[in-house]
Symmetry: C2
Subunit: 406 residues, 2 copies
């Protein structure tokens, strides 16, 4: 008994039948004596459909307009879910991002939450109603609709859980939890019962599609216990929470793979102070997040700079990067979109040496060339040719012995 | 040169290609030196799709939730139209009902506008931008999204034209103007160059689908010149404006037909004071608008009461009416959904006698039985069996000689 935030993704609300199932799940939680705030995504495919309408007009639509466009899908689901609950006899009330008091900054299509006024929700819960919230959206200080980027409904759920000091935030999705690797690639991938926020954060940002990484950041910052479980199958799911001792026994918790990055290389860059600042300053101005950056050791005052950006952002930066390359007298820009970033993640790495070496060796044994490397305290990532990605994931999963016993 | 409000209906914005055409029309008006506020409907079929989703859950969805649901279609079109204009190099900005400052009462699904704050639009026009407004919606004093009922985008357009004191409000639609009868029924129906607000009002409320009647009321009240014309074909359209002398020459301007009404009859009602008040009070509480009411002369303290309501509202009132009939000891309730209301409209009627008689005689000559009659200063309506509706319209159109010369 307590206050729960549920979040239902696009597949979970993909049809009226499924919305009715979701209403039943919420009703069960109510029957058990819980207050429920349910955050819903757009029905599966709806957001893509809206984006494709805009792309029939232009490749670079205005982002303020895109936010108004894209925010409509979640509103539809919220209204339908509230109607489904009411029809079952459970008082419910839908809220848009604005009505629920989610204030954001002005960064359209990737807005960040600046403040949540929890009062409207609290008041509605006190009236004995289920609160159904349109995910993925908020409102800026100048009253424009903003959205949080793909997967933003996770962020809505966790942010509301934090603001309401909810006892639990359940992310209902189409998988049974967080796995040690993609079960489609690795047959003996293991469902993890528990992962730390930090591990989840690395996994999310490295391509595990279960949770949006900003949501995990939020959960970590405000200590919101997150439970990831399936909407469709019974099961205990995966609890994402603070690190505890039992976690340290495992060195590597999971292997992830992200094929949605592209690598840009600027060749023959004069190695002068300020050049990198210029390049990445311009890219930041275009609102594109650069992931890995590598600058080779300079030879005779000339170097190469490689970096990765989300594949979908290549068109936003390509022209700018080529212009800069010309301005600074560099040799040219090459773009490689067929790369994959394969990573191993685990809090146990902090107290174990040789983990990175074992990863490099495992890839070498499979004759997979490593193009870029990046490390943090709890992960090691390698950029490789995307055609080897499944092979690499399977080899690493085997090498670090994180699968279930066959 | 001046300030124009354009309104584009669902068919006019039914695809991306058509939205681009609409953007071209707006751009032309800009090029001619006009400031333009464009009100857009949902893409054809979208609102029906949303309503049908809700109807898969329940027949009687909550109206607050329906408003959130239904308001999303217009938002999508507004964003897309703004993007189309921007892509053509015309600065534009979308506004939702809330952002445009359209305040309404709390009557969900049929809200009335209480106040418009024209400042956000004025400011945006002064910046040289086209203002694109999501039609059909506003916001109530307690911050809920409200909608204006079917055809409500017309109301948005006229209300904005009034608030902005626009020089002209053009309703772009899929027909070339207002006709003396439905051209699908009457082959020599004439396009009217000019009609008065009052005639248009009667025609709109009597089933002519060109303009939403609340929009015409608004236009009349605030003296907004309305031009109805085709989005797809060139042509002068129909100007809806104040009565002028040239109009009086014609006795009957048009014949209309409304098949979307249903007739309810309560038989053997005890003829006591307060009974009618009780019946229609309850129906009003259900938010249903009663059109015609007829009470027969009482025989031995017993009478019949017949009335018409919109066909789609029968399910809302049926149970209530049957309950009342039982309570007051009436004989039973019969419902007839296959009726049609055929009407003749014209300002000239005010100074001509015998118009109603000619109508009844014309119908009698075709052996069409008249079930109910209602009259106003500028129209006569008869409820008949719906199977005779086309025949009746053609006969009346011929009888009053309002067609084009063959």
């Amino acid at each position: 008994m307590g206050l729960m935030v549920h979040k239902y993704g696009g597949t979970s609300v993909g049809s009226i039948e499924r919305i009715k199932e979701v209403a039943k799940k919420i009703a069960e939680a109510r029957d058990e004596g819980n207050d429920v705030v349910a955050v819903v995504s757009a029905m599966a495919g709806e957001t893509d459909k809206l984006i494709s309408l805009a792309s029939e007009i232009t490749d670079l639509p205005d982002e303020r307009e895109m936010d108004l466009l894209m925010s409509s899908g979640e509103r539809v689901t919220a209204a339908l879910a509230a109607i489904a609950l009411q029809t079952m006899g459970y008082p419910a009330r839908s809220f848009t991002g604005r009505q629920v008091g989610i204030q954001t900054d002005d960064a359209h299509t990737r807005a960040r939450i600046t403040h949540i006024d929890a009062e409207p929700i609290r008041k509605t819960l006190e009236e004995g109603k289920v609160v159904v919230v349109a995910g993925f959206q908020g409102i800026s200080s100048n009253q424009n609709v903003t959205t949080f980027g793909r997967g933003g409904s996770d962020t809505t759920a966790v942010a509301l859980a934090a603001a309401l000091k909810a006892d639990l935030c359940i992310i209902y999705t189409d998988v049974e939890g967080v796995f040690s690797a993609d079960p489609n690639t690795v047959s003996n991938a293991r469902k993890l019962d528990k992962v730390s926020y930090d591990e989840m954060l690395e996994m999310a940002s490295l391509g595990a599609k279960v949770l949006h990484n900003r949501a995990v950041e939020f959960a970590k910052k405000y200590d919101v216990p997150l439970l990831v479980k399936s909407t469709f199958k019974e099961g205990s799911g995966t609890l994402v929470t603070n690190e505890d001792e039992s976690m340290e026994k495992v060195v590597v918790s999971g292997v992830t793979c992200d094929k949605k990055q592209a690598k840009l290389t600027i060749a023959l860059v004069p190695d002068k102070p300020g050049i990198a600042g210029k390049i990445f300053g311009q890219i930041a101005n275009a609102g594109v997040v650069v992931d890995m950056i590598i600058q080779n050791v300079s030879t005779a005052g000339i170097t190469d700079i490689s970096f990765t950006v989300p594949g979908g952002d290549v068109s936003k930066v390509e022209g700018e990067v080529k212009k800069i390359a010309e301005e600074i007298g560099a040799g040219g820009v090459t773009i490689n979109e067929s790369i994959a970033k394969v990573s191993i993640v685990g809090v146990g790495m902090q107290s174990h040496s040789g983990v990175a070496a074992q990863m490099f060796q495992t890839l070498a044994e499979e004759n997979i060339n490593i193009q870029m490397i990046s490390t943090s305290e709890i992960k090691v990532s390698c950029v490789i040719d995307s055609k080897y990605s499944e092979l690499a994931v399977r080899a690493l999963h085997e090498s670090f012995k994180i699968g279930e016993d066959d």
